[in-house]
């Protein structure tokens, strides 16, 4: 709560709200302390990762870079190809066991993300549960949500609220939880996304958030308009496409265009997988009945 201006505020905010290109563009901040400069670089490289430019990150971070950056590089390697998985996991385990760097929050965060991808939530929590940064706390929230443990999510969220209730991540995490528990909380989630859209630039993340809230409130028409707006901003955003598929189904419209777009651009997307497993299980079920 110091009085000094928070120079990385805009960058961080853009990153959290999914305005990755804006985050990269706003990275030119002068007069940063060394620590802040590393944070800035991490955020920028993570933005590139979010945009899918894995190779760029891998190329630009050399072996002399600081631990957090190395961790970011590991994430890029992990996401680049499934072939790298094992080496990445073994090296991240190795680093985490080193006393000197094992406690680095970014390293722990990246470890958490990677183990989440591996669906090994226990392992992920092993590194992230202690918290320490807002990002780690937010990741914990997400892990608990994935585990369908809203009770733990709530506890984690309370910690975040105590630290800074108005922090973008606190607000976002509140919205995630609200959506997960449903009922009257969905309105609150909607208000949070609404606040974001008024305060900052509209990103597909925020628009998707609003759309998801609308869908959960049974308002598929409005959801569709948000999603189409998001599609205008980013025609390839997988979540927009996935949610559009869901939304179109509910509106009785054809969803095949969006689905095939998604299948082409993101064959690994959760919705695509859901569709293919559904087909398999249908065929299997027909045999048994």
């Amino acid at each position: 709560m110091a009085g000094a201006p928070d120079l990385l505020f805009g960058l961080r905010n853009n990153f959290y709200l999914g305005a990755f290109q804006a985050a990269i563009n706003s990275g030119d901040v002068q007069n940063l302390s060394e620590e802040d400069a590393i944070e800035r670089d991490c955020l920028i490289y993570r933005s590139y990762i979010a945009l899918g430019s894995y190779q760029l990150v891998i190329n630009e971070i050399d072996s002399s870079a600081a631990t957090p950056l190395q961790a970011v590089k590991l994430l890029a390697l992990y996401l680049l190809s499934t072939d790298n998985k094992e080496t990445v996991i073994s090296s991240i385990r190795e680093w985490l066991s080193e006393a000197a760097i094992g406690n680095n929050p970014i390293l722990r965060l990246i470890a958490g993300i990677i183990f989440m991808h591996e669906q090994d939530y226990n392992e992920a929590l092993k590194y992230t549960n202690a918290g320490g940064t807002m990002e780690l706390n937010a990741l914990n929230v997400q892990i608990f949500l994935k585990m369908h443990r809203s009770d733990y999510t709530e506890k984690q969220l309370r910690i975040m609220q105590q630290i800074d209730e108005d922090h973008t991540l606190t607000q976002l995490a509140t919205a995630w939880l609200n959506l997960a528990v449903g009922g009257s909380k969905i309105q609150e989630a909607y208000l949070i996304f609404q606040d974001f859209s008024e305060k900052y630039q509209m990103t597909s993340l925020v628009l998707n958030g609003k759309a998801v809230c609308c869908m959960h409130m049974g308002n598929f028409d409005e959801a569709e308009s948000f999603l189409l707006e998001a599609l205008n901003k980013d025609a390839k955003d997988p979540e927009t496409l996935a949610n559009l598929v869901v939304c179109s189904l509910h509106l009785g419209k054809s969803s095949s265009r969006f689905l095939s777009q998604l299948k082409l651009s993101h064959p690994e997307h959760m919705l695509v997988k859901r569709g293919s497993t559904a087909e398999e299980s249908f065929d299997r079920a027909v045999q048994t009945v």
Binding site: M147, D195, R274, V289
Partner: protein, 1134 residues
């Protein structure tokens, strides 16, 4: 002078009339106050309580009170009744002789002034001093009080002052279409649309007694319904009220508000407000519980804060305002201003108006200065209209300010008002009594100017056409602002018109005006302008009109118009204008002519020289003779020749001008052509029936068939969907060490909880919900058990859609896996969190209704395959529809019956088309089709079809039967009637059928859905187990008879154990039941029914029961012709 009454009192220094009674008070230099009845001329009473002279006395307007003030520095309050008066109290405080004292006209206070150079305000009830105003050097002598308004005046040694004691501006805040404001001790709410004023809640009375402690500002958060009221109490403090959602309390109980001290308080987000702590120059951000969430130091000392968008504050410092971002702790913009009193944001938050006492500054959201207006009269309030014009009030006027800083008066005011909101040209204001009033203002002027400014000329034009707005001021404005072409349209006076036309370069109008005026000067100016524009035609015309030959010649020269130039020469000759003649000759290069002119003019030497130069030797000699040898000595050594005149490259003509769009002001703008939007239902590709070649019958036309969809949209009354959820909680915390949350070395990760989809499966017995959850095997088992469905292949895509539509996707943390969220059905605002509702299903009854309409349409246009596909898909989807009410069950049942008929009919029609070489079967199928229960237009088409087929095959009786039926439907299409009539006529002439059909229209029948063979009434139904209205089972498979059998078996076993004799043979009636089974009712009600012939049975599902029961009743009546008496235990009526 008309003397009414006179006393001989000594040196009367003060006088006061009683407002109603015939009384007058007189205070004397001696210290005595006398009360006189001036009508009777008697002294009622005298009071001798003051020491020394009494200079001021004053009756209270309504109460039996008066005050007096004297040179003993005291003020005395007196009470009186009909007979006497007595002193009630003495106010001490003045340090010198009291000059004047009086009761305030509108407030319960006493105001006095004195030679001690002060004015004092006293509470009349509590009789305590409230406030003192001092002057440095001037003693006060006299006071005056306005009888109605809140105004006082005081005279002192060097002049007088007019003043008021309390602010009269009500605290208010506009939110959307409503206004929140404070009046007296109440927070009130005003709705602009209904213009209703409602009291919301009482607010706290200021604790302290001093003046000006009322609410100063008000701030409202719409989402949270919270109100912040700031006042000057305790040197600046705020109170936070939450407006109760449900009720608007009329009571007098003051809500326990949350309070705090601070310079000003405003909402910065829906549930956050900022409070200025002046002592530390910090902004405290608080939540609605009044707890501090955050503190931010301001970079510049500020004495007030205002709202500036979410998370931002507009702060007022000594000589500037600045916008501060609370999160980034950055100053986003600042602006030098005088002391800003009020801040008004436009509704889009793009512009802000900063109101000072005598000026208004308009700036954008980053405080970039746009314009400043200075007013000599105090600025009171303002608001933005929808077009971005700022409308404001001064003490005396309502005025506007355009985005470019132009301003003007809209209306004069008698009393000051506070604008709260503007809708179009209705302006809402609060007056000083706290009343909301709308007034309609004439917005023409500023809207016009704004349109000009925004270059929306179409708008400008229509305003010019429609309104009488005009006047010199407007013309001057237009001219000054560079819109002479617009001004042109206002002006009738030709001279002004001419000037404006020239200014705007509109030659046509200028010419027209010049013709009207017809003055040399105007022609000349027209010529100059036309020349500038290269419009030589007009230039020529202008010069001709003014007979300006020289210019005209020169114009012809430069435009290469040699013909006219030579004419000019002739004209000069006729006019004897030698010089002009010579010029023209020179221009034309006509040397002979020049010589001739020179000779005629007597300039023989010059003529000689000219001739010599150009080598005209015979003339030279001739001239030399005339000159008698005194020939001029010309330089030699030059070859002499005639001029060769250059041929003009381009002759005459105006300069080519760019083709420009005709300005909106030039052409008429009534070319707003109406794009006809035709929307014909295209039935051109209709594929109904073949041609029927009767002599006078053309094609059957379907184009004009209007579909008659069943518009009776039954609305669903959403009855409580009886999901009685036995709150299935999330699994309890598995024994986890409590300290696990943070800073613990031993962290045990919790076990995973139960996904929502699993909860759905546990709670539901509906196949569709199991499918949505992805449990296809249980879904199939349910369908198989409930409906006997065996073939699931047609349901595959439906199952997958249900499953895919059951979750939404949320990108949470960047690069981390997605969160998928279960979408639940029947959301309501009040639903409690963490209680899982059933899944939202992608199929709904309304979708099916849409499909039905599409099916009808496809049928109308003859796209039978498409129609059949649609109808079948309706039937396929129905088992997966979940409805919530009995009414909807009825609707679904109805839908099944409709669709079933169409499916059968369309299948037969398609089959018929395959059988081109079997005319008998063709006729039969066409005939059966007409017995399906179709919409009227479709029935007509089917009848036409059957009629045509039969007629062609020579079955005239049958054809005429169809014709008759067709006519009975009163066809709207002319040609249908005509065809039918002619078929009937043909049949009458020749009553015979050439082939025998299996079709007896007199005998009611049903058609087997598998073999398309009629089963007549009275025929033994058991005759063909495979042919019993099996078409209903085409729902699941149109060909698989195995399904059919198993279906029947399952129902036989379930229902026929009742063993009601005579029912077994009517198996097919249960098919209807089976159809109905497809729709579910939530909450099965078990109902015991008893038929009076002795059978008692109960069904496990309410819906099944109803329809099965109806069927039983119906069948029973038919078979036994007895009345069935039945009753239900639960009282559900049928």
């Amino acid at each position: 002078m008309l003397t009414k009454f006179e006393t001989k009192s000594n040196r009367v220094k003060g006088l006061s009339f009683h407002s109603k009674r015939p009384w007058i008070l007189a205070s004397l230099h001696s210290g005595v106050i006398q009360l006189w009845d001036y009508r009777m001329g008697t002294l009622i009473d005298r009071f001798d309580e003051h020491d020394g002279p009494v200079r001021g006395v004053h009756f209270h307007q309504s109460q039996p009170l008066f005050v007096s003030g004297g040179d003993d520095y005291k003020i005395k309050i007196w009470r009186m009744n009909d007979t006497k008066a007595w002193e009630v109290d003495t106010l001490r405080g003045h340090m010198n002789n009291v000059s004047c004292v009086l009761f305030h006209a509108r407030q319960d206070i006493i105001v006095s002034n004195s030679e001690d150079k002060s004015i004092r305000v006293w509470d009349a009830t509590k009789r305590t001093g409230l406030q003192t105003f001092r002057r440095e050097h001037d003693r006060f002598w006299i006071l005056g009080c306005h009888p109605e308004m809140n105004l006082l005046a005081a005279g002192h040694d060097s002049g007088m002052i007019v003043f008021k004691l309390e602010r009269e501006r009500p605290a208010f805040s506009v939110s959307g279409d409503s206004l929140y404001f404070v009046k007296d001790r109440f927070l009130r709410f005003y709705d602009y649309t209904s213009q209703k004023d409602t009291q919301i809640l009482p607010i706290r009375r200021p604790g302290s007694i001093s003046l000006n402690q009322g609410p100063r500002t008000l701030c409202y958060s719409p989402t949270e319904n919270a109100i912040l009221i700031c006042s000057d109490v305790d040197g600046g403090s705020y109170e936070l009220y939450i407006i109760p959602k449900d009720s608007i309390t009329r009571g007098d109980t003051v809500q326990e508000a949350k309070r705090g001290v601070g310079g000003s308080a405003v909402f910065v987000a829906r549930n956050r407000f900022a409070v200025l702590e002046k002592s530390t120059n910090q902004v405290l951000v608080k939540n609605l519980k009044n707890e501090i969430v955050k503190k931010s130091a301001l970079p510049v000392a500020a004495d007030a804060i205002f709202y500036a968008g979410t998370g931002n504050l507009l702060c007022r410092a000594e000589d500037r305002v600045f916008i501060f971002d609370l999160q980034q702790r950055l100053v986003l913009g600042d602006l030098q201003t005088s002391f800003v009193r009020y801040v008004v944001w436009s509704s889009d938050m793009e512009s802000v108006a900063l109101l000072s006492k005598h000026s208004i500054i308009i700036a954008d959201k980053k405080l970039v200065h746009r314009c400043t207006l200075h007013e000599t009269i105090r600025v009171k309030s303002g608001s933005w209209d929808d077009n971005g014009v700022f409308i404001y009030t001064t003490l005396t006027h309502i005025k506007y300010c355009l985005p470019n800083g132009d301003s003007g008066i809209i209306k004069t005011l008698d009393v000051p008002v506070y604008i709260t909101k503007i809708f179009g040209n209705t302006l809402f204001y609060l007056d000083r009594d706290g009343k909301n009033r709308p007034i309609v203002i004439d917005s023409t002027e500023y809207v016009f100017k704004l349109s000009l400014l925004k270059k929306r000329f179409d708008h400008v034009m229509s305003m010019i056409r429609n309104s009488e707005l005009c006047g010199q001021a407007m013309i001057a404005y237009l001219q000054q602002k560079g819109f002479p072409e617009v001004a042109l349209h206002f002006v009738k006076d030709e001279r002004t018109r001419f000037n404006l036309a020239l200014e705007s370069g509109n030659i046509q109008i200028a010419v027209a005006s010049a013709k009207e005026i017809d003055e040399k000067d105007h022609w000349y100016r027209l010529g100059v302008e036309a020349l500038r524009q290269g419009n030589s035609g007009i230039v020529e015309y202008a010069y001709q009109r003014t007979k300006n030959f020289e210019r005209l010649s020169f114009l012809y020269l430069i435009t290469g118009n040699l013909d006219k130039l030579s004419k000019m020469m002739k004209i000069s000759e006729v006019k004897n204008d030698v010089m002009g003649q010579f010029h023209n000759a020179l221009y034309l290069g006509d040397v002979q002519e020049r010589i001739k002119i020179l000779v005629n003019a007597g300039h023989l030497h010059l003529a000689y020289a000219t001739a010599k130069t150009h080598g005209l030797n015979d003339i030279v000699e001739d001239l030399a003779d005339k000159l008698n040898g005194s020939v001029p000595n010309l330089p030699s050594g030059r070859s002499s020749s005639l001029l060769i005149c250059p041929t003009p490259v381009l002759c005459g003509g105006d300069w080519p001008l760019l083709r420009t769009m005709k300005g909106i002001f030039e052409g008429g703008l009534d070319n707003a052509g109406k794009g006809g939007n035709e929307e014909y239902e295209d039935a051109a590709d209709a594929d109904w029936g073949e041609e029927l070649d009767i002599v006078d019958v053309e094609n059957i036309q379907n184009g004009d068939i209007s579909m008659v969809p069943d518009d009776e949209e039954a609305h669903e009354d959403n009855e409580e969907g009886g999901w009685d959820l036995e709150d299935l909680e999330l699994p309890p915390d598995v024994e986890t060490p409590k300290a696990a949350t943070s800073r613990s070395s031993v962290f045990v990760a919790p076990t995973a909880g139960m996904p929502v989809s699993q909860i759905w499966v546990q709670k539901s017995s509906l196949a569709a919900e199991h499918a949505a959850a992805g449990n296809f095997d249980t879904a199939m088992r349910l369908l198989s058990r409930q409906l006997g469905i065996k073939n699931f292949t047609p349901l595959k895509s439906l199952f997958i859609d249900l499953h895919m539509g059951s979750h939404s996707y949320l990108r949470a943390f960047s690069s981390a896996p997605l969160i998928s969220l279960a979408i639940e059905r029947g959301w309501s605002e009040s639903a409690s969190p963490n209680v899982r509702a059933p899944p939202a299903l992608v199929f709904s009854f309304s979708q099916l209704e849409e499909k039905l309409k599409a099916g009808y349409k496809a049928t109308t246009t003859g796209k039978f395959t498409e129609a059949l596909r649609l109808f079948l898909s309706i039937l396929h989807t129905i088992p997966l529809i979940v409805v919530e009410s009995r009414r909807e069950v009825d609707e679904v049942k109805e839908l099944i019956i409709i669709v079933k008929e169409y499916v059968l009919g369309l299948q037969m029609e398609l089959k018929r088309r395959e059988l081109r070489d079997n005319p008998v079967r063709q006729q039969e199928l066409a005939a059966y089709f007409t017995h399906c229960n179709l919409q009227l237009p479709h029935l007509r088409l089917a009848l036409m079809n059957a009629m045509t087929v039969c007629y062609k095959a020579g079955n005239l009786i049958t054809a005429s039967n169809f014709a008759r039926r067709l006519l009975e439907t009163n066809p709207t299409a002319e040609n249908q009637t005509k065809t039918a009539r002619s078929v009937m006529q043909a049949a009458e002439r020749n009553m015979k059928d050439s082939t025998q059909l299996n079709y007896d229209f007199r005998n009611p029948f049903v058609v087997c859905g598998a073999t398309y063979v009629p089963i007549y009434r009275g025929q033994k139904d058991v005759l063909c187990p495979g042919r019993i209205r099996c078409f209903r089972l085409t729902v699941f498979s149109s060909s698989d008879q195995m399904i059919h059998k198993s279906f029947l078996q399952s129902y036989q076993s379930q229902f026929f154990s009742l063993n009601v004799s005579g029912f077994r043979s009517r198996v097919e009636d249960f098919c209807l039941v089976a159809d109905v089974l497809c729709c579910y009712i939530r909450e099965p009600i078990t109902l015991n029914c008893r038929l009076d012939f002795g059978y008692e049975f109960s069904f496990w599902r309410f819906d099944i029961q109803i329809f099965v029961f109806l069927e039983f009743v119906e069948i029973w009546c038919r078979l036994k012709t007895v009345t069935v008496v039945w009753h239900s235990q639960s009282g559900v009526g049928l």
